[in-house]
């Protein structure tokens, strides 16, 4: 990956694994270390799943554009969709209680994004969500940016 790569996916659940394979291939070609590539794959999977499952009310697939570009010792992913406004950078309550009975099964994806991305930036641009996730080797925690 000498520079930026971009691909549009149809926005269906069956896109998620090809999306992961595409990202892993780009990361490997760019020399991104396996740990950083895994973090990027996990967060892309979570972000795209969220758009596909919850971004629209009409039940129809909506295209998702993924841009991937190398950054110093890592990779940056931009996810663009036309779903309802939604900012994954906003902090949320972890749905894990003190016991399994107090724990709800959903709502962990956004927490994973905030846990494993080095930086999370979101903006709404021309009725589209633009989510920028940065993954840098040796980074430990995300910093969320809310414009």
């Amino acid at each position: 990956m000498d520079g930026r790569a971009s691909r549009e996916f149809a926005g269906t659940i069956s896109d998620l694994r090809p999306m992961s394979e595409w990202l892993q291939g780009l990361a490997a070609n760019a020399g991104v270390d396996s740990e950083t590539a895994w973090q990027a794959e996990l967060c892309l999977n979570e972000a795209a799943s969220n758009v596909i499952l919850y971004g629209h009310d009409d039940g129809a697939p909506h295209p998702i554009t993924i841009d991937v570009e190398p950054v110093e010792r890592g990779v940056q992913i931009t996810i663009i969709d036309d779903g309802r406004p939604f900012n994954p950078a906003e902090p949320g309550k972890l749905p894990v209680g003190r016991t399994i009975e107090e724990t709800t099964p959903g709502g962990l994806g956004l927490h994973l994004i905030r846990s494993f991305a080095s930086e999370v930036r979101y903006r709404r641009d021309a009725n589209r969500n633009v989510l920028v996730l940065t993954f840098a080797a040796n980074a430990t925690r995300s910093s969320a940016s809310i414009p």
Binding site: I13, L16, R17, L42, S49, L94, V96, P105, H111, L112
Partner: protein, 118 residues
Amino acid sequence: MELAYSDLENGVRKIDLKGRLDIEGASAIDLKFTALAASQQAFLVVDLSLVDFIASLGIATLVRSAKAARLRKGSMALLSPQPNVAKVLAATKIDSVLPVYVDLNEACAFVLSNASGS
């Protein structure tokens, strides 16, 4: 995603998962997994050693099954997750409500001693 299970002599049901526990993987096993967890044999050890990727929807499947086991007065533990899977479990703090073991005997001892009401 593959699911197999065996009922051990000590009364524990060991469930072996293999593959990617992402949205597709979770969908593939969700019904069978929950049914196994909600049976009379509700002492469950879930072997994750052959799961190479887990996403939040995969964790949701584990949580639903654990809650189903709890409703049957049982319990569930996780066994031998790969490093990246363990990181996800730790980041979500799911490992605080679904304990993780690397030794099958210790996992069995936990679920048998953690029966609801015992």
